[in-house]
Amino acid sequence: MVTEMKDYTPNIEVQKENILNVNNLEIFYGEKRAVNGISMDIEENTITALIGPSGCGKSTFLRSINRMNDLIPGAFAKGEIIYEGLNILSNNINVGALRKEIGMVFQKPNPFPKSIYENITHALKFSGLKKKSQLNEIVEESLTKAALWDEVKDRLHESALSLSGGQQQRLCIARTIAMKPTVMLLDEPSSALDPISNAKVEELIVELKNDYSIVIVTHNMQQASRISDKTAFFLNGDLVEFDQTEKIFTNPSVKKTEEYISGRFG
């Protein structure tokens, strides 16, 4: 694992601004507490990886950042996540508007059963964008950014379901990009893909770092070490350690972290 990190270039000289401040966040599913009071700062234009065994609360935490947990009956959160001075967990937040700024890509590619073109324009139309030329422009721009344009430009009006799994996932990333978010949440975005598609998606994520702040949940430790700048290790709902990726993977300060990344449990 250590050998794979040779070409890792630490990016610590520039002090980046925080885009999200998480303060003492607790998340419950009914009676059960899934996240136990975590605090962490997420920097802008940074890839933050959340790692940990299944059920450790990392996905729950990720989903709380754009309030996707609202869809789960009985789920609620305490504490605060500050985004541009606002606590996005409070009741007076317009979650629709929030999710346009904090986009999310899921584990399983979930394109709508519509054409490739409509998959991108779908949400834009809700935001009141109607002009055809403008829509075309955004479709091309976001598909290009998602490194999918060359593969699909001749068949934009074919079903999105005719794409391969990897292409579908990049389409899902493209439709999130089309909303011009500030933060992108990725929930194991390449775990359902084959190694080649996986590599393409990873390359894309690193590329996206220049424009967006990215939080990624991954089960794949190599992936975390390859692409992320900072890594947070979760265990049983606790944030065990959060530091520069390089430090987490070479010299973690907590013993549990070391045991997990060296594969002794989890």
Binding site: P73, G96, M104, F112, H122, A123, S159, T176
Partner: protein, 316 residues
């Protein structure tokens, strides 16, 4: 017995694999084959019953055209229905065909939005308590016998329409309202299944892009479920088309073409049930009723084909 078994067990070990493992006459007649035969017989009975009914209805239904010389064109397009006239019988069934179709489509027009709306309410808006209330309501609606629907229609709906809208009260309007309530459970149940079988990821994908619940329902969920929703509507229509008793009690059963929704009318099914008892088997009047029955069967085949086509259609 135990000794005997032991011997067989002992012997089986001695006999070569060829005899123990290859299919042979000896192990042919065990449970596997018996089960197969039972299931096979069940299937044969079902298939032959359907085929027998179709053949019987086909031969009986065609008699009026072949034996009694009724013209098919007259049957399908004639407006005069007078099969018992000795001198000049007339066999125009168009008013009833029209009545059947009209009442079916109008009933679907009411029941489809209600049923799909109910399904969306149960799956998307209030999955917990909405379902708890609506589910038993729908099951109850299924359980009410059609004669009760007809009776309620006759005592409540017909006088209401007579007083408030004019006419006799016995009308297409009463028929369509009664039918729409009767087919509501069919449409709601199938639509609910269709909506709840949509993958959760589809909803999440839409919400994650900032869509509201209504936008998600309208632009993602309904389009994705549309083949199944259409199937639900067509199944409801098939039921409405074949319903006789309840319709008969409220529609008025006249031989003339209705000119407005408040006019009394007749349908293929109501004319068959009303006249079946007064005609002698084998007479032209009786045969023409069979022709109407055949027409109903053909229509239900058409509905089935339509459903097959709709559910096999790819979602884009």
């Amino acid at each position: 017995m135990t000794y005997f078994r032991g011997v067989i067990f002992f012997m089986e070990k001695l006999v070569p694999a060829k005899e123990r493992l290859l299919k042979s006459q000896k192990n042919w007649m065990n449970g596997e084959v018996r089960g197969k035969i039972i299931v096979f017989i069940c299937a044969i009975i079902m298939i032959s019953a359907t085929i027998a009914i179709t053949i019987f209805l086909g031969t009986k239904g065609l008699q009026s055209f072949i034996k009694n010389g009724v013209s098919l064109i007259e049957f399908l397009t004639g407006k005069q229905w007078n099969p018992s006239d000795q001198a000049k019988p007339q066999y125009g069934a168009l008013p009833f065909i029209f009545g059947s179709f009209t009442v079916t489509f109008l009933a679907a027009l009411i029941a489809a939005p209600l049923g799909i709306g109910g399904a969306i309410f149960m799956t998307e808006i209030a999955p917990s308590w909405g379902r708890k209330i609506l589910q038993p309501v729908i099951e109850l609606l299924v359980g009410i016998p059609s004669v009760v629907y007809g009776f309620i229609g006759l005592t409540v709906l017909v006088p209401f329409i007579r007083v408030h809208f004019g006419g006799l009260g016995f009308s297409l309007l009463s028929g369509m309202i009664v039918l729409s309530i009767m087919i509501l459970p069919t449409i709601t149940t199938i639509a609910t299944d269709a909506m709840s079988s949509l993958p959760k990821t589809l909803r999440e994908g839409s919400y994650a892009l900032g869509a509201t619940r209504w936008q998600t329902i309208r632009k993602v969920l309904i389009p994705a479920a549309i083949p199944s929703l259409l199937t639900a509507i067509v199944l409801g229509m098939a039921r409405a088309f074949g319903e006789a008793l309840a319709v008969q009690m409220v529609i008025g059963n006249v031989k003339t073409m209705p000119h407005s929704i408040l006019d009394a009318s007749g349908t293929l099914t109501t004319i068959i049930t009303l006249n079946m008892g007064y005609t002698t088997f084998g007479s032209p009047e009786n045969n023409i009723l069979w022709s109407m029955g055949l027409l109903l069967l053909i229509m239900s085949f058409a509905f089935i084909l339509l459903i097959r086509y709709l559910s096999s259609r790819r979602k884009i």
